[in-house]
Symmetry: C2
Subunit: 410 residues, 2 copies
């Protein structure tokens, strides 16, 4: 596809008659908007001199204390002094890559991995080496083999980038047993771990998983975000890093943006201090669980034989694999013509693979729309299977390589 075709496609996706299973936008309408509006209005009227003023490059100290409380839900004990507030976790990822990666350095990432991270790694000319995952998350033996091979080749591995919990795009979660193994292997090869955890509190069953950072404070740099638990439009994320790294990150942030917005930060601080945020996250979990159920039920009922998909226990995404000979990227324009959108798998690989996969998100559309979207998708896939059986395998679409994410595929 040429850029004009992509733009035309995106214009189609935005039409109300298209069910978009593509976007990663949280359902912020579920927030108590009247109460939040009142809280923010009073905050500006009462503390405007602080809310509307420059702040420190590291971020508001009071907010950083609240952030430590939030992280304690995942077993993390940290000092607010080791936290830096960023413009979403994306900025933390950008600054970390800027600081650690020289062109040609290796960065390890799950296969598949978050498209926005791959875009940032490409911007700094990192060489992304993928490590496969399965239903239990990143596969430790595969990580060890990859590190051993790279070590033999004399390659410099800067870090492992992982979304261990409710992964984007695969929807899988690293098991507790594997968490220990991953940390052990990274220690053995002296590789940093970037733990990106925007969905950790959005699990559908039981308590939050224990973060990797909870068991290794010197090797793990933790990225968090309020984009999915409060609101993405605030652009408030954070990084928790060993002290020397945190200091470098703050200097880099100062050069990049001077300081994060006090307006956004203090809105979050006030929200955490005065609103029932734990209950609100519980509401979000139930809402997303209903939508996950709607998607899995419809997939079970409707998708043709030969398709497989993951069964997420939290977060926003299902990862679907098409039968052999089908190509999600080539199929995308036909799906949109039939009024359903998804993100082709190719965007989540730096190596041009992923054609048989797609990401389906259930975070934004209402359950009946999800069911309708899956119904349309199943029909498109059935058509593709018939075409394949009649004419042989579909010609594979060209490899995309990495493109920047676009907020629609967060």
């Amino acid at each position: 596809m040429v850029p004009s075709e992509i733009r035309a496609l995106f214009a189609m996706v935005a039409r109300p008659e298209v069910v978009s299973l593509a976007g990663g936008a949280p359902y912020v309408s579920a927030l108590p908007l009247d109460a939040v509006g009142e809280m923010i209005g009073e905050l500006v009227a009462g503390k405007g001199a602080e809310v509307l003023q420059y702040g420190s490059a590291q971020g508001d100290p009071g907010l950083r204390e609240h952030i430590c409380d939030v992280m304690s839900l995942e077993g993390i004990h940290a000092s607010p002094d080791d936290v830096a507030v960023t413009v979403g976790a994306q900025q933390a990822l950008d600054l970390i890559t800027k600081i650690f990666v020289d062109p040609g350095d290796v960065v390890l990432a799950e296969a598949p991995s978050y498209v926005g991270a791959l875009g940032t790694f490409a911007a700094y000319q990192a060489d992304v080496v993928h490590v496969p995952l399965d239903e239990g998350g990143l596969i430790p033996t595969a990580l060890r083999e990859t590190l051993a091979r790279l070590h033999t080749e004399g390659r410099r591995v800067k870090f492992l980038y992982t979304v261990p919990t409710f992964q984007n795009p695969a929807g899988v979660t690293l098991t507790t047993a594997r968490r220990a193994q991953i940390l052990e292997i990274c220690a053995e090869y002296d590789v940093l771990v970037i733990e990106d955890n925007p969905y950790g509190l959005l699990g559908f069953d039981g308590d939050p998983m224990r973060a990797l950072r909870a068991d290794d404070s010197s090797r793990v740099i933790y990225l968090g975000s309020f984009s999915k638990t409060i609101a993405s439009g605030l652009r408030v994320g954070w990084v928790l890093a060993p002290h020397a790294v945190r200091a470098k990150l703050v200097l880099a942030a100062e050069s990049a943006i001077l300081c994060p917005s006090n307006f956004s930060q203090l809105a979050v601080r006030e929200y955490l201090a005065t609103q029932p945020w734990r209950e609100q996250i519980k509401d979000f979990r139930e809402l997303y669980r209903d939508r996950r159920d709607a998607m899995l039920d419809s997939l079970d009922q409707l998708m043709p034989e030969g398709c497989t998909w993951t069964r997420p226990a939290g977060g926003f995404f299902v990862w679907l694999t098409l039968p052999e000979g089908l190509d999600s990227k080539a199929m995308a324009p036909r799906a949109i013509a039939d009024r359903v959108a998804y993100v082709p798998g190719t965007g989540f690989y730096a190596d041009g693979t992923g054609h048989r996969h797609m990401r389906l998100s259930y975070c934004f559309p209402e359950p009946h729309r999800i069911r309708e979207g899956v119904r349309r998708l199943a029909a498109v896939v059935e058509q593709e299977i018939k075409l394949r059986d009649t004419f042989g395998g579909a010609a594979q679409s060209g490899s995309t390589g990495v493109h920047t994410p676009g907020p629609d595929v967060v």
Copy 2:
């Protein structure tokens, strides 16, 4: 000074008994905070689904239209499509430098120049070459000589960075006649111009100056900001650039932060659409003019012979030059001990000079505090002159080189 001493100094400056003429923080308390709070509260309650959601990487289209209206006050005719919203103008500066500058490339900047720009140029390993200014702003003959010399040396000049109106830190403004000359010289040597204009609407007399960008849309990249005209805590700035550059900037912004905050952007959009912002800027102008007058009157009355300073017609800053043999950086701890703070001139030069200069800001303290601050400063300078006369010239402090700005010296 070692870092611990600098921290101790900053801790001193924050004490209420110290009059800080150091910071560049706007006096946001002058905003009608009740009305702004009410406006924002209603915005969140009524349009929360948009305000709290991800937006586009380029920034909100409605806000970009308002930005074009704002720029039209300076003679600029532009399309919203050529505008990208950024996290303050600082982010625009960072992205521009990232896109254009390779290590060792030359960037031209006024002597003195904005400390935050020098920090960013240093981060990308630019070689900053200063061009002197005087009361009429950047000196065209000096610019021509510098470009001719660099051309002869075969150096690659990437752009001229200039704050033409109410300059930070010098407080001077490029004359109309010189504006044409600067554009002509840059065209002759095919050098881009980065016009950074946060203070343009804060002139104390008559209409706003015509922007450089108003007379050259292909060579000038214009940076704007609401930090000084509305509120710095929102972190909303923008860049207006030729189409191809704008496209690259948006891709770079997407990789760096995904998208700017809708929360901040739509607050600004709503403010511009519903509040009397032109009258508010007029109020700010009058407030800052009173403070400028307080500072200039006190300097005239109190500063010892041998000191000279600029007479700003707008903006936030006076640039003061000490008598020969005095060193503003060496003097800073003694000034703070005597309860007055300023920014030593060395921060505004990439070449280690500036010891005889200091930046005095009148934007934040109330007029009676400004007078008291100048009284204390005059006494410190008098002491220094006596010391110099008794013991000979003070030992010059070490060169600082560039450090990152810190919000206190914006």
